[in-house]
């Protein structure tokens, strides 16, 4: 019901191609992770999907082309968590999460009781109720990531895009943030697309991976199909080995070049 489809999606900046036409389908409730070296075009794919950069081809949510949607309508379909969110220092957590309800407030309107209830509900679900009146500047990195996620969840959009959601977090908070995304995905039936650098984490949480290289889609499939030493070596230009746990979890380990 909220399938996300990139149809021949392409992005270029001032004539320089950042993403070559690619087609990807994410089933409703699925989690696709975009992987690839820096500059491969992962962020461009995400940013084009939420209307931040112009694109060729199409992005459709539940069969509706986002190009035909108004800004407001699109924000009800797709929520976006940027790599480095802007957090106004003296805004409270509650005010910030309430911003997620903006797409539902009419142009001259104010937040309704149901908008406030929705924001409070998300804060409760994410165990952030005690934080409601805290100012954003007082939060730690892990707390920040949770409230940014809370704002995106409060948006109520069936599709959630995450641009490197864990890049600034330690291993414990990485796990916490991704578990949260996974729980919301299952409880709310969200369709998730994330860009991530940690290949082991990507394989652990996403059900499909898409490997981008120099703007082109070079491999896609289940984590076991994509996280293979020869594929990663070719496109990342590194020497790695991939270890498989008994439950099928792939662990990507870089090989040290020279041992003294």
């Amino acid at each position: 019901m909220s399938e996300l489809l990139f149809g021949d999606l392409s992005v270029s900046y001032d004539g320089r191609v950042a993403v070559h036409p690619l087609t990807l389908a994410v089933p409703s409730g699925g989690w696709l992770c975009l992987i690839g070296p820096n500059g491969a075009g992962k962020s461009s794919v995400l940013r084009s999907a939420c209307g931040l950069v112009a694109h060729g081809g199409s992005v459709t949510v539940a069969g509706v082309d986002t190009a035909t949607m108004s800004t407001r309508r699109r924000s009800r379909a797709i929520a976006f968590v940027p790599q480095v969110p802007v957090l106004p220092a003296d805004m409270t957590v509650y005010e910030y999460v309430l911003l997620g309800r903006s797409p539902f407030i009419s142009y001259f309107g104010v937040a309704s009781a149901s908008d406030r209830a929705a924001a409070a509900e998300v804060l409760g679900e994410l165990d952030l109720a005690d934080f409601a009146q805290r100012r954003l500047e007082t939060l730690s990195g892990g707390e920040r990531q949770r409230i940014v996620l809370a704002r995106a969840i409060a948006q109520g959009s069936p599709v959630l895009l995450l641009d490197e959601p864990t890049s600034a977090l330690d291993i414990g908070h990485q796990q916490q943030a991704l578990e949260l995304v996974d729980r919301m995905r299952r409880e709310r039936g969200l369709t998730v697309v994330s860009a991530m650098h940690d290949l082991t984490l990507a394989g652990l949480y996403a059900d499909r991976l898409a490997l981008l290289h120099e703007g082109g889609l070079v491999a896609q499939g289940s984590p076991a199909e994509v996280l293979r030493a020869e594929i990663l070596s070719e496109f990342y230009g590194v020497s790695v080995r991939v270890h498989y746990e008994d439950d099928g979890t792939a662990i990507v380990i870089p090989n040290r070049r020279t041992r003294v």
Binding site: C50, G51, R73, V86, A89, M91, L99, V110
Partner: protein
């Protein structure tokens, strides 16, 4: 929520401040305080002057806060996109042309020229900024504003350099800003613009709060960033142009008042905009009082007083409170 209740308390406090300023502004003057004997002075000189100071202060503060919101920059003021330069050029042209020649005109061309000059300058800035820069960044707009301001001041300098000392003095006085000749006519002239502009700006305070997370995130939250920016800039510019056309270029109010309000009451525009209106009005009424008294019977230009009082106050605030936008 508690934050909302605190907002009402601040608004009430600001309104009381304004009421006190109005009383003081009406009571104090070279002709002495309130009495039946000088009722004429109070009604025809002081009251319109207080009313105009309130309108000008409120509008400049509201426009400044709105500009700071759409440009996400605490250091901008309503003159950012060339409104001051345009108004100054318009006024210079009329004064250089000769005030004697225009004394019997049906409409006084001085405020009209200042008003149109401000609107024209900001329009040129907007068109140039939008045409030459990316639509998504406000930086191109700010740079275009700098260019337009330089252009207007160049033309102004050229005109002044060919003018008599009397013209230069008159232009200089106008540029410093003053409410010496304030009349009920001026109040009636600017009030409609200020009311409409103020209503539009206040209606956008929620959008300015969304914009606090930046253009990109505001867009993904469903905000039509370009439309909001052009609407707010247009409304703030019309209001600013209207008040500077009768008061001249009063400096510092548009930047210091919203900033002070923000430091005391927090950065949410739902509070900053309405409270800035009351505080801005009170500030300019109070700032106008020493202007009448200091060098009596001569007047100290209001723009000098606002900067002289505002700057140290601002520095103290900067020192004691952390700046947030």
């Amino acid at each position: 929520m508690t934050t909302n209740r605190r907002g009402w308390v601040w608004l009430l406090a600001a309104t009381l401040l304004l009421a006190a300023a109005v009383v003081l502004g009406v009571m104090v003057g070279p002709a002495g305080s309130l009495s039946a004997a000088n009722w004429n002075i109070i009604w025809n000189v002081r009251m319109p002057r207080v009313a105009l100071a309130a309108i000008v202060g409120a509008m400049l503060s509201l426009a400044g806060a709105s500009y700071q919101g759409v440009f996400r920059n605490p250091l901008v003021d309503p003159y950012l996109l060339g409104a001051a330069g345009g108004a100054g050029l318009g006024a210079t042209m009329v004064i250089a042309f000769g005030r004697a020649a225009t004394s019997d005109w049906f409409v006084d061309p001085l405020p009209l020229a200042a008003f149109l000059g401000a609107i024209a300058a900001v329009t040129v800035t907007y068109l140039a900024g939008a045409a030459f820069g990316s639509m998504r960044t406000s930086t191109s707009l700010v740079l275009a504003g700098v260019a337009v301001a330089s252009l207007t001041s160049a033309i102004q300098a050229f005109v002044l350099q060919r003018s008599s000392d009397g013209v230069i003095r008159a232009v200089y006085n106008w540029l410093l800003g003053s409410l010496v000749n304030a009349s009920w006519h001026d109040v009636r002239l600017v009030l409609p613009y200020v009311v409409v502009s103020g209503a539009v700006l206040l209606a956008h305070r929620r959008h300015l709060d969304v914009l606090r997370v930046g253009d990109d995130e505001a867009l993904t939250l469903g905000l039509d960033v370009r439309r909001v920016r052009i609407t707010v800039v247009a409304a703030a510019t019309i209001g600013t142009a209207a008040v500077v056309s009768v008061s001249g270029l009063i400096a510092f109010v548009g930047i210091v008042v919203p900033h002070a309000v923000r430091m005391v009451c927090g950065g949410s525009y739902r509070r900053v905009l309405p409270i800035s209106i009351a505080v801005g009005a009170a500030f300019l009424i109070l700032a106008d009082i020493p202007g009448r008294m200091l060098q009596n019977p001569a007047e100290t230009p209001l723009g000098v007083v606002t900067a002289f009082c505002g700057a140290p106050f601002f520095m103290v605030l900067l020192r004691t409170r952390r700046a947030t936008v």
